[in-house]
Symmetry: C2
Subunit: 156 residues, 2 copies
Amino acid sequence: MKMSNTQQRRVILEELRKLDTHPTADELYDLVRQRLPQISLGTVYRNLELLSATSQILKLQLTGTQKRFDGNTALHYHRRCPCCGRVSDLKGEEMAEVERVLNELLRKTGCRSYTLELCGVCPACRKQQSSSRENPENINNPKSHQENKNDGIERQ
Amino acid sequence: MKMSNTQQRRVILEELRKLDTHPTADELYDLVRQRLPQISLGTVYRNLELLSATSQILKLQLTGTQKRFDGNTALHYHRRCPCCGRVSDLKGEEMAEVERVLNELLRKTGCRSYTLELCGVCPACRKQQSSSRENPENINNPKSHQENKNDGIERQ
DNA sequence: CCAAAATTGATAATGATTATTAATTCTAAT
DNA sequence: ATTAGAATTAATAATCATTATCAATTTTGG
Ligand SMILES: [Mn+2]
Ligand SMILES: [Mn+2]
Ligand SMILES: [Zn+2]
Ligand SMILES: [Zn+2]
């Protein structure tokens, strides 16, 4: 069961690593197809599974129906934007804050690990929001911003 | 669109409220069928959807493939046990700790809300574990305890 | 009781993911 | 470079959870 180095696997990994958007398997399939037009969706799924099983990528089980994948294997956390639906990485000080606060929580509860998904306006939407003076309570009524990529996710 | 009071809906809600196990739709279906043998799975799904849309129950999107439902609508948090796979509520001091620590996190990150799933040994497994002196690092190798209800969930 | 509205059980359809398989590609050893 | 065996692929079928459809039944408010 030695992992061989196929063109398909290489391209899938390369394309995923170019992104910071946490694509679903079919989103990545569309990108990979631009370089390998005859690749099949099954191959993308199979390789994403293999790559995450060997810790070369992350498989994210965020809320919503589809799995998402991440070429960045460093420990980090994610925020889903209620405006555009995008999943973005927490950066710098925000990251450190999660670490600090959640480690404290693990210690006090005796738990081993956690899965955390924050919900907050992403940097891209923050800009627009401040200029367009929008109703801040349309959290459950997305589809407001231009490049709205929100899928039909219902949050708890 | 007034919600009528059907026997099916009443039984579904009653049975769900008896539990603290966060069943999936089909698990609840099996229970409800003991009282209403001719009910269909579609009816269970339809009512769970309606009941959660009207805030009479909670729909949980925990890791794993299936949705889970909760008759307890009070604000509270969940822990998945790496030994038995069960989802249990955090209680008392643990609850308060999550509140405190995560509110701090929201304030510092400017996020609106969060979805948190802790992973930690549940009270039931804790008892067994202390007596049976088991390898504490079989986190990714469940199927160790007797009443093992672990589904095939892969954690991040 | 009665008409309109809501719901049900049965079943089909959907969407995401996984399994199957014959054909192709990779690999490592000659 | 050749070659046998292992790994992988594209195509496709199958699976699993969930949602949609719809004629028949139940509930509701008058
Ligand atoms: Mn990421
Ligand atoms: Mn609960
Ligand atoms: Zn956004
Ligand atoms: Zn347990």
